[in-house]
Subunit: 96 residues, 2 copies
């Protein structure tokens, strides 16, 4: 007889393999780190979303969608936004 798992926290959800595959977990962790750095870097530089839109060539509604995790971006969009914020991306071996 199984005991049903409860999902009370974000970690409960993320660590439930029946709901989130390892690859999905990697993506979600990545995106959370991503928007953290994006928002912090943008605010450190004193830029509004509209100004970052100007600098990056990505429109303000798209930036808002990124920052609120309502889309999984394409990588060209990501590089356009990250560059003026002083960031880039790297491929690295899984730590694990």
């Amino acid at each position: 007889m199984e005991t049903a798992k409860t999902i009370d926290t974000f970690s409960d959800y993320m660590n439930d393999e029946t709901r989130v595959s390892p690859a999905e977990r990697e993506r979600i962790n990545f995106e959370v780190a991503l928007i953290g750095k994006m928002i912090e870097a943008r605010e450190e530089k004193g830029l509004s979303q509209r100004e970052l839109a100007e600098l990056s060539g990505v429109k303000q509604p798209a930036i808002a969608r990124l920052e609120s995790l309502r889309a999984t971006p394409q990588i060209d969009t990501l590089f356009k936004v990250l560059y003026p914020l002083g960031y880039t991306m790297q491929i690295v071996p899984l730590s694990k």
Copy 2:
């Protein structure tokens, strides 16, 4: 009077700021590193594109498009393919 630049090599093209923006250059460098590691890791593991399609949930034609740089993928697709190959992605400051 300007001397016209010639484009004889990939580097000539990549380093011409009038043609390739810095953000674009970052993306292109990233994608070249990406497919290098993807193809090497896949072959080291002795996997065919069809087998990797099975493992990753990304279809073989999509993997072929990735490996031949004929699309700028979405990041969820990237994580799905990279995970079974033992790789992930990170946000890092621009080295410059």
